[in-house]
C-alpha cells in the first residue's frame, strides 16, 4: 500500500490538509456515576491536500467524532490533530473549511438566499461577495429557482443541496462532508460527484464520511476505515479491493463437472452454468503463477477456454471483511 496510511509523524506537514496522530476522545456522561465511552482510541492518519478522501466505518466507529474534533465542535482527550496546518479547532483554520454535517438543520425562518447570506457572513464574507456568489451556488446545487423559497418548504434532498451550497459559499480549501448524498436523488448524486471532482481539480481537499460505499468508490482517491475508534486500514480504493484473496473467473465450452474436475486442486468459490454447453467457475488465486497454473490445467484437460478474467472485489466486500477481521471491540 503506497498511500499515506498509519502516519505516526507528530510534525505538521504543510502538504497535508489533515493530520491526525494517536488521537483519543472519551465521552463522559452523567453527573455522579459518570459513564465513559471511548469514541476514538488512538487513531492516526493523514490526508494530503488536493485529494478526495473517504472516511468509512460502521455505526459508532468514531467517524463523526473525528470530524468534530477536527472542527473543534468536540474537544480531543489526547493526541494531536491538525487541519490545514493549524491545530484542530483553530478558528483561523475554520475560515478555510466548509462543513456539511449529517442531519444538519438550517433554521426554518431562512430562505435559500438568506441562509447563504447568514452562513456566508458567519464565514467572514462581505455582502457584495455573498450577493455575487449566491446565484452561482444555487445553480450549482440545482436550487436555482428556490432562492426565495422558505427552507421549511424544502424537501430533504433540497435541504441537503442547500447545506452543500453553504459549505461551498466561502470557497474553502477543505471541504468536510458528512453523508453528503443523504436524501439526494441519483441525478443529484451524480451532479454532486462531478462538483467534487471539479473541486479536486482546483486543488481543494475533500473529506467525505459516507455509508454509501458505491459512491465513495466512484469519487474517492483514498479511504480510511475506522472501526471501534481505531483505524483498521487506509489506502487507495484499488489497494483495498485487490489483495491476496483475489479470484479468477474461467469459462469453458463444456460441462461443469469436467471443469470442476480439472480444477479440483484449486479452491472453488462458485460454479455457474449460464448457458447450455458452457460452464464458469470462480477460483481463489494468490498470484499470477496460480493464474498460469489454472490455465495450464484446464488446457491439459482439453477444455476450451472461452472466458478468463480476474474477479475484482468490491469496496463493500473489502470493508465488511476488514471490519469482521477486526473482531469485537474491547470492553
Amino acid at each position: 500500500m503506497s498511500s499515506p496510511t498509519n502516519g505516526s509523524s507528530s510534525r505538521q506537514d504543510s502538504d497535508l490538509a489533515i493530520q491526525v496522530d494517536d488521537l483519543h476522545k472519551t465521552y463522559r456522561h452523567g453527573l455522579i456515576f459518570r459513564k465513559k465511552v471511548d469514541a476514538l482510541r488512538g487513531t492516526s492518519f493523514q490526508v494530503p491536500r488536493g485529494e478526495i478522501f473517504g472516511l468509512l466505518g460502521p455505526n459508532g466507529a468514531g467517524k463523526t467524532t473525528m470530524i468534530k474534533v477536527l472542527l473543534g465542535v468536540v474537544r480531543k482527550t489526547s493526541g494531536d490533530a491538525y487541519m490545514l496546518g493549524r491545530p484542530a479547532g483553530d478558528r483561523l483554520a475554520r475560515r478555510s473549511v466548509g462543513y456539511l454535517p449529517e442531519n444538519h438543520r438550517i433554521p426554518r425562518h431562512h430562505t435559500g438566499n438568506t441562509a447563504l447570506e447568514y452562513y456566508g457572513r458567519l464565514s467572514g464574507m462581505a455582502y457584495g461577495d455573498i450577493r455575487n456568489r449566491t446565484p452561482e451556488l444555487l445553480e450549482l446545487v440545482g436550487l436555482k429557482d428556490w432562492g426565495k423559497v422558505s427552507v421549511k418548504n424544502y424537501s430533504k434532498g433540497m435541504q441537503q443541496r442547500l447545506g452543500l451550497a453553504q459549505a461551498l459559499m466561502h470557497d474553502p480549501d477543505l471541504l468536510i462532508l458528512d453523508e453528503p448524498t443523504d436524501g439526494v436523488d441519483p441525478v443529484g448524486r451524480a451532479e454532486m460527484r462531478q462538483t467534487l471532482r471539479n473541486l479536486k481539480d482546483r486543488r481543494r481537499t475533500i473529506l467525505i464520511n459516507s455509508h454509501l460505499l458505491q459512491e465513495v468508490e466512484l469519487v474517492c482517491d483514498h479511504v480510511a476505515i475506522l472501526h471501534k475508534g481505531k483505524l483498521q486500514q487506509a489506502g487507495s480504493i484499488s489497494e483495498l479491493t485487490q489483495n491476496a484473496q483475489a479470484a479468477l473467473r474461467i469459462g469453458i465450452m463444456g460441462e461443469e463437472a469436467a471443469l470442476a474436475n480439472a480444477l479440483r486442486d484449486f479452491s472453488l468459490r462458485r460454479v455457474e452454468n449460464p448457458a447450455p454447453g458452457q460452464a464458469f467457475v470462480l477460483i481463489d488465486v494468490k498470484d499470477q503463477s496460480d493464474v498460469d497454473r489454472a490455465v495450464d490445467t484446464v488446457r491439459a484437460a482439453n477444455l476450451s477456454i472461452i472466458h478468463l478474467a480476474p474477479e475484482k472485489r468490491t469496496l463493500e466486500e473489502a470493508f465488511v471483511q476488514i471490519v469482521h477481521d477486526a473482531g469485537p471491540a474491547p470492553p
Binding site: 475554520r94 433554521p107 464565514s123
Partner: protein
C-alpha cells in the same frame, strides 16, 4: 465582528418571520388604543381633600358649635351651606359618643364630604359672615362677578373664602385640581393637592403603568416570546453548522442573548414611546424623563432573559427555559417579600431618639412608644395615645415631643401629637416612678397644638409650639370637668388633685410649621427655626417667661432643624446644608454640606455646646466641633445603621443602631466606654442574620421600579413630608442595579463557560 452582527441580524429576521415581533407590536398598539380614550382635565383647585385638614377635630367643634350662633359667622355659614344629608350625619356622629376608631374615621370622612358640599353651594358666600377677613384677590375678583360664574368658579371662590376664614384648620388648596374621564365620562376626581398637578399625576400613573404593566406583564410576554431563541440555536444539527464557522462559542451565546435584548428594547421603545406620544398629544403632558422607562424595562427583561438563556443552553428546551425563569421570578419575589414585610414589622421598632438622665436611658421608637433601658432590655414606659395603640394600624403621626425628666418629682413627661384619625388633640402624657421602681403611666392635660419642644428648666415645664412658649401651671392632670363632645368623659384624678393648664410664657409668636425648636438647658435659651426665621428666645427676669432676643430672617426658605448649645446654633436644612450661627448675634460663621446624599432628620447639641450631631434619614451620623469650628469624622461603627444619637455630657455621645444597641463613645477620641445591647432573638435575629444577607446579594429585578421612578421624577424619596423629623423612606435605587448587574454577569458567565466546555 461580521459574524456577530450577522447573528444579531438573524435574531431580528427570526422574530419577523415567526411573527413574534408583529404580535408584540400589535399588542402594544392595542394597549395604546385602550389608553387613548382617557382624558385628564385640569381646573382651578376647589375641592377639599382630607390631608388639607390640619385639625379636623378642632374645625368640626367650631363649626358644630357655631351652627347655633345668633349672628352671622363663617362657622354658621359653612354649616348652613352644607347639604342636609351631611348635616344630619354629622349630627349623628356628634351625638353617638362611641369610643372606637371606626367611628372616628367615619366622622372624618363625613366632615370632608360635608365641607365639599358647602363649597359647591352657590349661596355659600355671605359678605356679612366673612366681613372680618381679608380675602385674596382672586376671591374678590370672583365675588365681583356676582352670579355670573360657572360651577367651577363658584367652587373656587368658595374654597378661597373658606381657607381664608379657617386658615389655622385648612391649608391652602392647590391651584389646580384634575378630573379623569374615559370616553368623556368622569370616573375619577376631582383630585387636588400634592401629587395631583396634571403633569405629576399623568406622569405618576404612566410610570406606575410602565412599572407594572410593561415591566411585569410586558416582560413576562417577552420572556415567552424569546424563550426559544437560545434552545433552537444550540440544538443538534444547527449548532454543528454554527460552530464549524470561525466564531467564538461564548461570543455566539452572548450575541444571541444581546440580540434578544435588542429586539425587546425595540418593542419597549414602541410601547413606552407610544405612551409618551399619547401622553403628549392627548393630555398635553410631555415629560421627557418618562422615556427613561425604556432602558429600565429592557434591563428588567435582560435579567430574566439571562436566566432563560442559561436554562436554554443547558436543557435546550424552550418550555424548561420558561419554567426556570418563572421559578426564578417567584424566588426573587419571596426574598423581597420576606425582607419587605420583615423590615416593615421591625422598622417601627427602631429607636429614633435617646436621652440619658436620672431616669436612666430613655428612648422613643419609630412607632412612638417610649421605652426605658432596664435589666438588659427596653421596656415601655409611655404609650403614644389611644388610637395608635391598635397594633394593626401603623398610621403616620408625629413622634412624641420629649420625653423630658423631672428629677424633683420623679416624673417623665412627653406630648403625644394626634394622628390622622385621632379623636383628641395633643396631650401631655407622663409616667411617675413608683416606690416599687415601676413606672405608672397617666394621661395628662391638653397640650398646646403644634408643639415641637418640651423641657424642664428651673423646675418649670415649658413647651414650644406654634403659639410660642407655654408653661405648665399646676399639675399635669386634666382639669376636673366633663367634656360632652365626642362622648369623652374625663374622670377626676386620684387623690382629687386639681388639674393644671398650660399658660402662655412668651408673646404670641405664630410660628408657621414645620419648625424645629431646641433648648440650651444650661442657659435656658431656646432656638426656633423654620423656613423663614431663626429666632432666639431668652428667659426674662422672672425666669418663667421668654422674650425674643434675636430674630434672623432666612431668605432661602428651606425647612430646617436647629440645635443650640453654648454660643452656637447649628441648623441643618432639607437641602443637606448645615449652617452654624452665633447665638449672640445670629451671624453665620460657617456652612458645610452633609456628605453624599444625606438628608438631616435630627440635630442634637451637647450640654455645653462643644459638640453637635446630625442624624440623617440615611442613618448616618455627622458631627461638628464648635471649639475647632469644623466638622469631625465620627469614629463610630455602624454608619448606615445609626438611628439616633444624643450627648449625655460634653465628653460623651450615645449612638443607637438599628438593633437597639446603645454605644457610649468618649469624646474626642471616640473610644467605646459602654455598650448596652439587647439580645437579638426571634424574628429580628432571623431578619438580621438570615434574610438581610440573602437579600443583599440576591438580584432584585422587581425593585427596578424604584429606579424607574427615580429616573422619571429625579428623586429617590418616597412619602416626603415637610417635617424633616418624620420618617422618610429614601430608596437606594442603585443597589438593586449593581446586584442585578452582578447577577447577570455571573449567570452569563456560567452560560459562556458551559458553552465553552461543552462537547456538542
Amino acid at each position: 465582528m461580521k459574524a456577530y452582527l450577522a447573528i444579531i441580524k438573524d435574531s431580528f429576521r427570526e422574530a419577523i418571520v415567526s411573527r413574534v415581533l408583529w404580535v408584540l407590536l400589535v399588542l402594544s398598539a392595542l394597549l395604546l388604543l385602550l389608553l387613548s380614550p382617557f382624558q385628564v382635565t385640569e381646573t382651578a383647585g376647589s375641592q377639599l381633600i382630607a390631608t388639607e385638614l390640619r385639625d379636623p377635630q378642632g374645625l368640626f367643634q367650631r363649626i358644630y358649635a357655631g351652627r347655633t350662633s345668633l349672628t352671622k359667622s363663617p362657622e354658621k355659614q359653612v354649616w348652613e351651606s352644607m347639604e342636609q344629608r351631611w348635616r344630619d350625619q354629622l349630627q349623628q356622629t356628634a351625638e353617638a359618643g362611641e369610643d372606637d376608631f371606626m367611628a372616628s374615621a367615619a366622622r372624618f370622612g363625613i366632615l370632608v364630604e360635608a365641607i365639599n358640599s358647602a363649597i359647591r353651594n352657590p349661596d355659600f358666600y355671605d359678605a356679612d359672615a366673612f366681613a372680618d377677613f381679608s380675602l385674596p384677590e382672586e376671591a374678590n375678583d370672583l365675588i365681583a362677578q356676582g352670579n355670573d360664574l360657572s360651577e367651577t368658579q363658584i367652587a373656587r371662590r368658595n374654597r378661597l373664602i373658606l381657607q381664608t376664614a379657617f386658615s389655622s384648620d385648612i391649608s391652602g388648596a392647590a391651584p389646580w385640581q384634575i378630573t379623569v374621564s374615559y370616553f368623556g365620562k368622569d370616573f375619577y376626581g376631582p383630585l387636588s393637592g400634592e401629587g395631583y398637578e396634571k403633569t405629576e399625576f399623568v406622569t405618576g400613573w404612566l410610570t406606575w403603568f410602565a412599572d407594572y404593566g410593561v415591566g411585569v406583564i410586558g416582560v413576562f410576554c417577552a420572556i415567552l416570546a424569546t424563550a426559544s431563541i437560545i434552545p433552537q440555536t444550540f440544538e443538534q444539527g444547527a449548532i454543528d453548522l454554527l460552530l464549524s464557522k470561525p466564531v467564538n462559542r461564548p461570543l455566539v451565546f452572548l450575541t444571541k442573548y444581546l440580540g434578544g435584548c435588542v429586539f425587546i428594547c425595540l418593542v419597549a421603545t414602541f410601547c413606552v414611546g407610544g405612551i409618551w406620544l399619547l401622553s403628549g398629544f392627548r393630555w398635553g403632558v410631555w415629560h421627557l424623563p418618562f422615556l427613561m422607562c425604556i432602558p429600565v424595562v429592557t434591563f428588567i427583561f435582560a435579567i430574566y432573559y439571562a436566566v432563560s438563556a442559561l436554562a436554554g443552553v443547558i436543557w435546550r428546551n424552550a418550555i424548561v427555559s420558561v419554567i426556570v425563569t418563572v421559578a426564578f421570578w417567584v424566588l426573587c419575589y419571596l426574598v423581597w417579600a420576606f425582607h419587605f414585610f420583615g423590615d416593615s414589622a421591625m422598622a417601627p421598632e427602631a429607636l429614633v431618639t435617646v436621652s440619658e438622665s436620672e431616669a436612666g436611658l430613655i428612648a422613643v421608637r419609630e412607632n412612638r412608644r417610649t421605652v426605658r433601658w432596664d435589666d438588659g432590655d427596653w421596656h415601655q414606659v409611655l404609650s403614644p395615645g389611644d388610637v395608635q395603640q391598635n397594633p394593626l394600624l401603623n398610621l403616620p403621626a408625629p413622634l412624641p415631643i420629649g420625653p423630658t425628666y423631672d428629677a424633683a418629682n420623679k416624673r417623665l413627661y412627653q406630648i403625644n401629637s394626634p394622628g390622622l384619625f385621632s379623636r383628641t388633640g395633643p396631650k401631655l402624657a407622663y409616667a411617675d416612678l413608683a416606690e416599687d421602681g415601676q413606672w405608672v403611666e397617666r394621661e395628662g392635660l391638653d397640650a398646646p397644638g403644634g408643639a415641637e419642644e418640651l423641657f424642664i428648666h428651673n423646675g418649670e415645664l415649658f413647651t414650644v409650639s406654634t403659639q410660642g412658649v407655654s408653661r405648665l401651671d399646676g399639675n399635669p392632670t386634666p382639669p376636673d370637668e366633663q367634656a360632652l363632645l365626642w362622648g369623652l368623659v374625663n374622670l377626676p384624678t386620684p387623690g382629687g388633685e386639681k388639674g393644671g393648664t398650660f399658660v402662655s410664657a412668651s408673646e404670641p409668636l405664630q410660628i408657621s410649621q414645620p419648625f424645629s425648636a431646641d433648648v440650651d438647658l444650661q442657659s435656658g435659651k431656646i432656638a426656633v427655626a423654620n423656613s423663614k426665621h431663626v429666632v432666639v428666645l431668652a428667659l426674662d427676669e422672672t425666669g418663667k417667661s421668654y422674650i425674643v432676643e434675636r430674630n434672623r430672617e432666612m431668605t432661602d426658605e428651606k425647612t430646617r432643624l436647629a440645635a443650640i448649645g453654648g454660643n452656637t446654633i447649628l441648623t441643618a436644612q432639607e437641602d443637606s446644608w448645615v449652617r452654624v450661627l452665633n447665638v449672640n448675634d445670629l451671624a453665620e460663621r460657617a456652612t458645610f454640606k452633609l456628605p453624599g446624599k444625606n438628608t438631616p432628620r435630627f440635630v442634637v447639641a451637647s450640654p455645653g455646646g462643644r459638640w453637635f450631631a446630625v442624624i440623617t434619614h440615611q442613618k448616618r451620623l455627622w458631627m461638628y466641633d464648635s471649639e475647632k469650628d469644623q466638622p469631625v469624622s465620627p469614629g463610630v461603627s455602624g454608619q448606615g445603621d445609626i438611628t439616633a444619637a444624643a450627648f449625655s455630657s460634653d465628653d460623651e455621645i450615645l449612638v443607637v443602631d438599628a438593633l437597639d444597641a446603645v454605644s457610649t463613645y468618649a469624646l474626642p477620641d471616640f473610644s467605646v466606654t459602654e455598650t448596652r445591647a439587647p439580645e437579638i432573638e426571634g424574628g429580628r435575629a432571623f431578619m438580621w442574620y438570615g434574610v438581610n444577607p440573602i437579600y443583599t446579594i440576591f438580584p432584585k429585578p422587581g425593585e427596578l421600579g424604584d429606579l424607574m421612578r427615580y429616573m422619571v421624577y429625579e428623586t429617590a424619596d418616597k412619602g416626603e413630608s415637610e417635617d424633616l423629623s418624620q420618617q422618610r423612606i429614601t430608596l437606594n435605587v442603585w443597589q438593586p442595579v449593581w446586584s442585578n448587574l452582578l447577577f447577570m454577569a455571573v449567570v452569563l458567565g456560567l452560560g459562556s463557560f458551559y458553552i465553552w466546555r461543552k462537547d456538542f
